[in-house]
């Protein structure tokens, strides 16, 4: 039978855990189970051209067959799934990813109708990595310039009194070293690839088990026509290896990397890894409330039931992360 080549594109370099530990092995597994009738060509680091926000278009239009990307990079295009990026939703990657898949199936399937969705998952949540400021409460966040990954992360930081700055991950460390920004709101997972461990002293997370201020939803999307063109047995191979299996594979790798980076950060002399105290943590959560209200209004204006989406996300967050406040 004919060999099927799948062009798999994403925005990180090949050394990133997502590439080396999830996407690569996924391709190997699919190849093995299909008797080498499915073969991946992986294009890391936007080798097919364009910017990360365009990956969703590249796969929709068949420029790539599969992409791994953050829907939030294309701000405003996937409003329903954005509910999971509301402040203080997620406390780790594995449960967070299960929750995200759950939420996607209940609330966000429509907006991905143009794609064959292989996985929707989430990073473990972003924490404060700062050069000189030990964030203990809202007082220290005031005026703090931090790099933020997505639109809602920026709004969340603004609600806490900080100043969001957007820039590509590759520039963050340089910008921190030179004082252009004071640090970043990033997941543990990105600490070493972006080298911000070399330029930051403080890593401040929520109280153990509590949700992080920001998070980024990620997704593996396949071109629908490409999927439909596969013979039934190859479709079955893709199906077997996507959905919850793939979602959990991402979640596990993220949590492993997080644990390793946490341990590593603790060994760097002069570096402080701390957790916020419950009271100031609660104050931050209160301060970020308006973000959710404004989001509900925005989304409702776009003819979605913003209230139901936010409530649904909160209910799932409470279910997957019982330790909320």
């Amino acid at each position: 039978a004919d060999e099927v080549v799948l062009k798999f594109a994403h925005f990180l370099p090949p050394v990133a855990p997502a590439h080396a530990q999830v996407i690569g092995p996924w391709c190997d597994r699919v190849a093995a189970e299909s008797g080498n009738r499915i073969k991946c060509q992986i294009f890391p680091a936007m080798q097919l051209g364009g910017t990360p926000s365009q990956l969703v278009d590249q796969v929709r239009n068949g420029v790539a067959d599969i992409v791994w990307t953050a829907p939030g990079y294309s701000a405003g295009r996937f409003p329903a799934i954005e509910a999971l990026e509301l402040p203080f939703m997620v406390a780790n990657a594995l449960d967070g990813s299960r929750m995200t898949w759950d939420y996607y199936n209940q609330f966000a399937k429509d907006e991905f109708a143009a794609y064959k969705v292989l996985a929707v998952h989430i990073d473990g949540g972003g924490l404060f990595h700062t050069a000189n400021t030990e964030v203990k409460s809202l007082a220290e966040v005031k005026g703090l310039k931090l790099r933020t990954p997505t639109r809602l992360a920026a709004k969340t930081l603004q609600s806490l009194g900080g100043v969001p700055v957007s820039m590509p991950p590759s520039q963050v460390a340089d910008a921190i070293a030179k004082g252009v920004v004071d640090g970043g709101l990033l997941p543990w997972e990105l600490m070493r690839p972006t080298k911000i461990d070399e330029v930051t002293k403080y890593h401040i997370a929520p109280p153990p088990g509590r949700p992080f201020p920001v998070a980024t939803v990620l997704s593996v999307l396949m071109n629908k026509a490409k999927y439909d063109s596969l013979p039934a047995d190859l479709k079955a191979v893709i199906d077997r290896n996507s959905g919850p299996v793939l979602v959990e594979a991402f979640g596990k790798v993220w949590d492993d990397v997080t644990a390793a980076n946490l341990k590593y950060a603790a060994t760097i002399p002069g570096t402080q890894v701390t957790n916020l105290e419950p009271a100031p943590y609660q104050a931050m959560r209160d301060a970020a409330k308006p973000v959710e209200e404004e989001w509900v209004k925005d989304v409702t204006a776009r003819k979605l039931d913003g209230q139901a989406l936010a409530a649904g996300a909160r209910a799932l967050s409470a279910k997957y992360f019982p330790a909320q406040n």
């Binding site: 062009k7 060509q41 294009f43 680091a45 080798q47 097919l48 051209g49 364009g50 910017t51 365009q54 278009d57 590249q58 239009n61 068949g62 420029v63 820039m167 590509p168 590759s170 520039q171 340089d174 910008a175 070293a177 030179k178 004082g179 252009v180």
Partner: protein, 442 residues
């Protein structure tokens, strides 16, 4: 057809298109189109959808925004009379030595290069200021034009530098680090050119007679005249290196500062403003058109997997890394005979960069290799600007020096070319020349 064969075939067709005068960006675009069509068996959709966002994605790149800003800054600097002040100041300082005005022209080129990202602009501007003076002082046409053609390359060897920005964007390298890495090699280049002048005037004292010493008062007055230039340089360079601005912001500050200086001290009028705007427009457009074509070509080459396969093949061939590097340098020198520096970077970096990064050089880290190779590539493509037959700087300078035959200019630049080659060899065997400052300031 294997991916590598397809990639190489497309490359051959691209070179043929260049021979018959097709615009470089368009030729790259068409070669890429061919690759897409072959890979997709004539199906158009994937190509058309790649084109959807090609232009906006390229033109809205934040790092590339420094290019029009640096060009605007150079245009303002040119119209602000800064080149004249620089040459005058250097002349009063060192003009009374044998060959002194040639030293002064080189120093002024280096200083102008520190606020201008383009080599031809530096050659043209400094040429207009310095050549008449050198002729008046009976400098030989060969030394005068050779000095300025070579000195013009300091425009890109000393940061800011447009080719380095492009290299940074292609390789996702930090513009700031590349600029820092270029500082010492750039200064060494200027010193090397001065050494060449020294040798020439000691062999042939009549080639560069000494000027009379000027009064201390006049000298100090001349130095005061370049304070604005120093200020702009400090603002931009310290802004980028010392940290309180990113390159795009620093370029904005530099453009604004040069604009203000041009109006205040240079008396920039509407005609000059118009020329600044149009000059910026044309130079920016020609660069971005090539960038658009190169962007599509890079995606197409990635699809063929040719760069990766080539890198692998070289890695496994057992060739000594330094031999590979000198082969690459030789290819650059050959391409430089017919091609423009920026087009060379755009065309070759996607192929050579993975090759170089895949090899071991003195146990250097990937980060160091990436910066070091950027400076090596910059220096080699810069040579293409001055070596015959089509070194653009030669033409620029020769056009200004109406009574000097082109052949004399070409002969005049040869000794400077020798110093370029020596510098490149030293950098190849001694990477700290570029990396030391990066590590110290890192």
């Amino acid at each position: 057809m294997s991916g590598t064969t397809l990639g190489l075939t497309a490359f051959g067709i691209l070179l043929l298109m260049l021979v018959v005068r097709i615009h470089i960006g368009i030729a790259m675009f068409l070669a890429a189109t061919g690759i897409y069509l072959v890979l997709n068996h004539g199906e158009l959709n994937s190509l058309l959808f790649t084109l959807n966002n090609l232009v906006y994605a390229r033109l809205s790149n934040y790092d590339l925004a420094v290019i029009p800003l640096f060009i605007l800054m150079g245009q303002f600097a040119t119209h602000g009379g800064l080149s004249k002040a620089l040459f005058h100041a250097a002349g009063t300082l060192i003009g009374h030595f044998k060959g002194g005005l040639a030293y002064a022209a080189t120093a002024a080129c280096a200083a102008f290069g520190a606020i201008c990202g383009s080599s031809l602009a530096t050659a043209a501007t400094m040429g207009q200021v310095a050549l008449p003076e050198l002729t008046r002082r009976n400098y030989s046409g060969r030394l005068a034009t050779g000095t300025l053609a070579a000195g013009g390359t300091l425009g890109i060897l000393i940061p800011p530098s447009v080719p380095l920005v492009v290299y940074a964007v292609l390789t996702q390298e930090s513009i700031g680090k590349l600029f820092v890495a270029a500082v010492i090699p750039g200064i060494i280049a200027a010193l090397g050119y001065m050494a060449v002048i020294r040798i020439i005037v000691s062999l042939d004292p009549k080639a560069g007679p000494a000027s009379e010493r000027v009064s201390l008062k006049e000298m100090i007055k001349a130095q005061l005249g370049i304070i604005p230039v120093l200020l702009v340089f400090l603002v931009v360079i310290v802004g980028i290196y010392g940290g309180w601005a990113n390159p795009t912001e620093a370029a904005s500050i530099g453009a604004a500062a040069c604009g203000i200086i041009a109006v205040v001290s240079g008396g920039m009028r509407f005609k000059d403003l118009k020329q600044s705007v149009f000059g910026t427009a044309i130079a920016t457009a020609m660069i971005f058109m090539v960038l658009i074509g190169a962007d599509l070509l890079n995606s197409a080459l990635a699809l063929t997997q040719m760069p990766a396969e080539l890198a692998n093949w070289v890695k496994n061939s057992g060739m000594p890394p330094v031999a590979v590097l000198f082969t690459i340098i030789a290819i650059y020198v050959l391409l430089g005979c017919v091609m423009d520096s920026l087009a060379m970077i755009l065309l070759t970096i996607p192929i050579f960069y993975p090759v170089v990064l895949g090899l071991d050089f003195y146990g250097m880290s990937v980060d160091d290799k990436s910066i070091w190779f950027g400076i090596v590539a910059l220096m080699v493509v810069e040579i293409g600007l001055v070596h015959p037959p089509v070194g653009m700087n030669l033409y620029v300078i020769n056009k200004i020096a109406k009574d000097v035959p082109l052949k004399e200019t070409a002969m005049g630049v040869l000794p400077f070319l020798a110093s370029d080659f020596i510098r490149i060899v030293v950098l190849v065997f001694f990477p700290p020349m570029a990396l030391w400052l990066v590590h110290v300031t890192g």
